[in-house]
């Protein structure tokens, strides 16, 4: 490939092979107008926003984070608080503390609510990120998991603002299949732009070899913080979209189960590449829908397998197998775009 291609075409080259099939599939699904199919596709694509978000940090830095769902949760609650219709707010939040009382007095349109929620989550991500990006390996895993628990506890216990263990209701249900598609396209574009940007390359350099990265003056905490913040904001977009898609949710919606799904999707697909994040979601989602159907209604000649938790167990098993047989995931860190290049160059060399 000509290495003089502008940065612009490089990220398009990376994102287009992922975005195009997603758009096509979405259009096809929209045409069938099958409600359950539309639902599944929407959920899968919203999840994909979160997984792509996680990939931006973990994939490029090589540092695992279990905290991305915490940021999705913060954004979902923030956007809900901002967009619930003004007439419902007093009855839903009778004990809103004084310094937050302004929230009860107005309500934003959903898109504005999502944008503000994502920006707010970005600020939280910077504050949390400054200390956290200094950790790697096991410590990073434990610390981000601990952060998830902290957010969970605060949200379940801060009844006056979050309605505690009761569900958030009255959240405008405006997100549709098309919103989900828009979210995914945006997330993939952001991830692709970051990956080919200088900051992205520097972050990958710290993943590849931290010593060498330091020897050429790359500041590891600084590059990680940039990736972390962007990553959390994309995950936040997914969270806010999810909130407006399901419209009633509680802290348990964004708990360990969702975290497990998001991390499993990224690891199974391949942490090192954007393609891996997309493929991981598709594979895991198709498999889990398959087993969920088996669990609840059976499939054709196959009778109902009455075994609650079957889906989660099968997923855990697949995750284990992938970790053992192919630790770098299905894609092994390559992009669809690389595959095109390779085919082209092998053709060129054979002719």
């Amino acid at each position: 490939m000509n290495d003089r291609v502008s940065a612009w075409s490089r990220w398009v080259f990376l994102a287009l092979p992922l975005i195009t099939p997603l758009i096509l599939i979405t259009v096809l699904i929209a045409v069938t107008d099958d409600i359950s199919l539309v639902q599944r596709a929407s959920t899968a694509m919203i999840l994909m926003v979160m997984v792509v978000g996680l990939h931006i940090f973990s994939g490029n830095s090589g540092v695992i984070s279990f905290g991305s769902v915490a940021f999705a949760m913060i954004a979902a609650y923030t956007s809900a608080l901002l967009t619930i219709p003004v007439e419902q707010k007093p009855s839903l939040f009778p004990d809103m503390p004084g310094f937050l009382s302004w929230i009860v007095e107005f309500s934003l349109p959903v898109p504005a609510g999502i944008v503000v929620a994502v920006l707010f989550t970005g600020v939280v991500a910077v504050i949390v990120g400054v200390p956290l990006v200094r950790l790697s390996g096991l410590s990073a895993g434990i610390a981000t998991l601990a952060f998830l628990v902290v957010v969970q506890v605060v949200i379940t216990k801060w009844k006056a603002v979050t309605r505690g263990e009761s569900t958030m209701v009255g959240v405008p249900k405006e997100a549709t299949l098309w919103w989900a598609l828009f979210g995914v396209v945006l997330a993939i574009a952001v991830a692709a732009i970051f990956q080919v940007s200088r900051n992205g390359r520097r972050l990958i350099a710290t993943r590849e070899d931290d010593k060498a990265a330091m020897s050429i003056g790359i500041s590891i905490p600084k590059e990680r913080l940039v990736g972390w913040t962007l990553s959390c904001m994309v995950a936040a977009t997914g969270g806010a979209l999810y909130g407006h898609y399901i419209s009633t949710f509680s802290a348990t919606t964004f708990g360990f189960a969702l975290t497990f799904f998001v991390v499993a999707m990224l690891v199974i697909g391949g942490m090192g590449s954007l393609t891996g994040a997309v493929v991981g979601v598709l594979v895991v989602q198709v498999l889990s829908e398959f087993f969920r159907t088996l669990e609840t209604q059976g499939l054709g000649p196959i009778p109902i397998i009455d075994f609650p938790g079957l889906t989660e167990m099968v997923l855990a098993l697949i995750l284990l197998i992938v970790l053992i047989v192919r630790p770098s995931g299905i894609t092994g860190g390559t992009e669809v775009a690389d595959w095109f290049v390779r085919r082209k160059s092998s053709k060129a060399s054979s002719s």
């Binding site: 990958i204 050429i216 003056g217």
Partner: protein, 240 residues
């Protein structure tokens, strides 16, 4: 006037003394080698100059400034680029991207691009494989890439830690020839090596380091040196 001067440098890790009272200097435009066996404190010395490890005592001067307490970024900005031991290239970035991230400390994009072009001129093999993953290059090519990447920060001095490690003798010769060429173009070089003979021939001057980082020999290098004699001396130092 010395460009780089180590004044009575001692480095210890807890109770283990790695380097004791080391005095070396590199003048402007000089090519100096620091040779010695494994475990005599060569790598600790590199790390101290690069700012990765703090010396327990003594001071390091570069361009008449005390850089002993500077962080690695500051030292790089002062003009010392380090090629770390073991060819630390970024395997899953392309050759070109490796070079681009090498210019991290400079914000002048047009200067960086010019620099990139001059690297590709100087290292044709890097130009040829510029879009290829760096991990696919051969050992010698990776070493060239590591050196080119270090040069992307336009350093006045290059500090190399065992660039010959794991390379075939012929390739080592090529790497050393390259260093000589760079030196002639004005980059001062401090080469840390186990591979004594080839390093000595390439350099203007050399130090032989013994256990604890004590300098046992300082002599002029170059082609006219009796390498066989040095080698036997050098081997003897190791057995003392």
């Amino acid at each position: 006037m010395s460009l780089l001067k180590l004044d009575q440098i001692s480095i210890s890790y807890g109770r283990a003394v790695a380097v004791k009272g080391l005095d070396i200097h590199v003048d402007e435009g000089e090519f100096v080698s620091l040779i010695g066996h494994n475990g005599v404190g060569k790598s600790s010395t590199v790390k101290a100059i690069a700012g990765v490890v703090r010396p327990t005592s003594g001071s390091i001067w570069f361009k008449d400034r005390d850089i002993t307490q500077m962080d690695p970024g500051g030292i790089l900005r002062m003009g010392i680029a380090v090629v770390p031991e073991g060819r630390h290239i970024f395997a899953r970035l392309t050759v070109r991207e490796n070079l681009v991230v090498g210019a991290t400390i400079s914000r002048d994009r047009s200067a960086n691009l010019k620099n990139l072009d001059s690297m590709i001129d100087r290292f044709p093999v890097l130009g040829k494989y510029s879009g290829r993953m760096a991990g696919l290059l051969s050992g010698g090519e990776q070493q060239q890439l590591a050196i080119a990447r270090a040069l992307m920060s336009s350093p006045s001095m290059l500090l190399l830690d065992e660039p010959s490690l794991g390379l075939a003798p012929l390739i080592v010769q090529q790497v050393f020839d390259l260093l000589k060429e760079l030196n002639e173009q004005g980059v001062s070089i401090l080469l840390i090596e186990q591979n004594a003979a080839q390093a000595i021939v390439a350099s203007d001057r050399y130090y032989v380091m013994r256990t604890g980082g004590v300098i046992s020999t300082e002599a002029r290098g170059g082609d006219q040196v009796d390498v066989a004699k040095i080698e036997s001396d050098y081997l003897n130092f190791g057995t003392v």
